[in-house]
Amino acid sequence: MTIYIVPLIFLTVLGISFLRKKDAYTAFVKGAGSALELMAGVLPYLMAVMIACELFRTSGASAVFSRFMSPALEVVGIPGELSELVLLRPLSGAGSLSVLENIYATYGTDCFIGRCASVVYGSSETVFYVSAIYFSKSEVRNLRYAIPLALVAAFIGNIVGCNLCRLI
């Protein structure tokens, strides 16, 4: 069903533009032109975030932190096996995707752990990536409580989701 979203969006917008006799070609070119400049602003932040995440994973620090987190997660109803996923999800989309693959391979998809993992991955975002990128074009450097709040909110969402999975 959702595979129709993107084609329909494009068809609708371009169609309406055509019907209203607007120059879609020039507009498109103008819009697309700003992509390179945007990327130039975003790339440094991407670098910083992804270098840190890769180091975090390879150093095993994430594995160590996860082991500490497991008992705490069990208390609120999240399976301890998911601690690396819960830890990595806000840090790295690609990294957490590979952790998710691992979990499916180890525990399977249609069990409590597999479903919880899907919920954890699917209901949250890469908080650090979003925070860094969204502020990349402004001079703002002090994000105040944005990241801690997003992490807490995502964690509460994870708790709700995982506990609801018990009902399936």
């Binding site: 609708t12 650090f128 995502a154």
Partner: protein
């Protein structure tokens, strides 16, 4: 963000020095390469979506969409310009449709155009609101996970959908409430500090003869002696 980054870097590099020192550079290279290839992919995607948005702007559909979302956007983001509101509603719409890569350029535009506070390097409450809403994920339909489950052989790939939607809605609502509460809390604190500051150093009213902030006393000008007397000397 700066603090978290440096902590992660220090801990990871320190750990690797003991575990496998050569991995430090190779990991950084892997990470940097990942960033570059991701950036290349994103330039292409951003090009597509930014091009579409420009066309969208021309048709006036963007304004209609912004109109639909305006009541919500106004409640959540007080005091921003129309242009910013448009960016925000495009960002939210793209996120809801699961088009994260389309939403990002809009989000960057929104934050860039938002009104700044006294200190330009500090995020305003509205900026934090937008980032928290995006970071807690508005995506109702997690297509990536469903496809991965199907690929891994799940009998019912979408059976986690209801808990997932509950989770994502909860996290966003908690985030919004959090920003509103913390925003109000910090604003009250700032107001209290301002009041205290004003009480300690009372405003010095204009002296008609001595100019403010100069070391010398300037000779009085003719007008300095005219007492402000209402209209025509009443």
């Amino acid at each position: 963000m700066a603090f978290i980054w440096i902590i992660i870097m220090l801990i990871s590099i320190a750990a690797l020095i003991f575990a496998d020192p050569s991995a430090v550079l190779s990991s950084m290279i892997t990470g940097a390469n990942g960033a570059v290839s991701l950036a290349l992919t994103l330039v292409a995607l951003y090009g597509i979506w930014l091009g579409l948005f420009e066309v969208l702007e021309g048709t006036g559909i963007a304004d209609k969409l912004a109109g639909l979302l305006r009541p919500i956007v106004r409640r959540l983001f007080k005091g921003e310009s129309e242009g910013t509101e448009k960016f925000v509603s495009m960002n939210i719409s793209a996120n809801l449709l699961g088009l994260g890569n389309a939403a990002t350029p809009m989000g960057i535009g929104a934050v860039g155009s938002m009104k700044r506070g006294k200190n330009r390097a500090v995020a305003t409450t509205n900026m934090i609101m937008l980032v928290v809403i995006s970071a807690t994920s508005l995506q109702i339909f997690p297509s990536t996970v469903i496809s991965m489950r199907a690929a891994a052989g799940s009998a019912n790939p979408a059976d986690f959908l209801l808990p997932c939607i509950a989770a994502t809605v909860t996290s966003t609502i908690v985030g919004i409430i959090g920003v509103k509460l913390l925003g109000r809390f910090f604003e009250k604190r700032e107001a209290k500090k301002e009041r205290r500051r004003n009480a300690e150093t009372p405003e010095i009213t204009e002296h008609p003869i001595a100019e403010k902030n100069t070391g010398t006393i300037k000779p009085p000008r003719k007008n300095d002696f005219i007492i402000s007397a209402g209209r025509h000397g009443e």
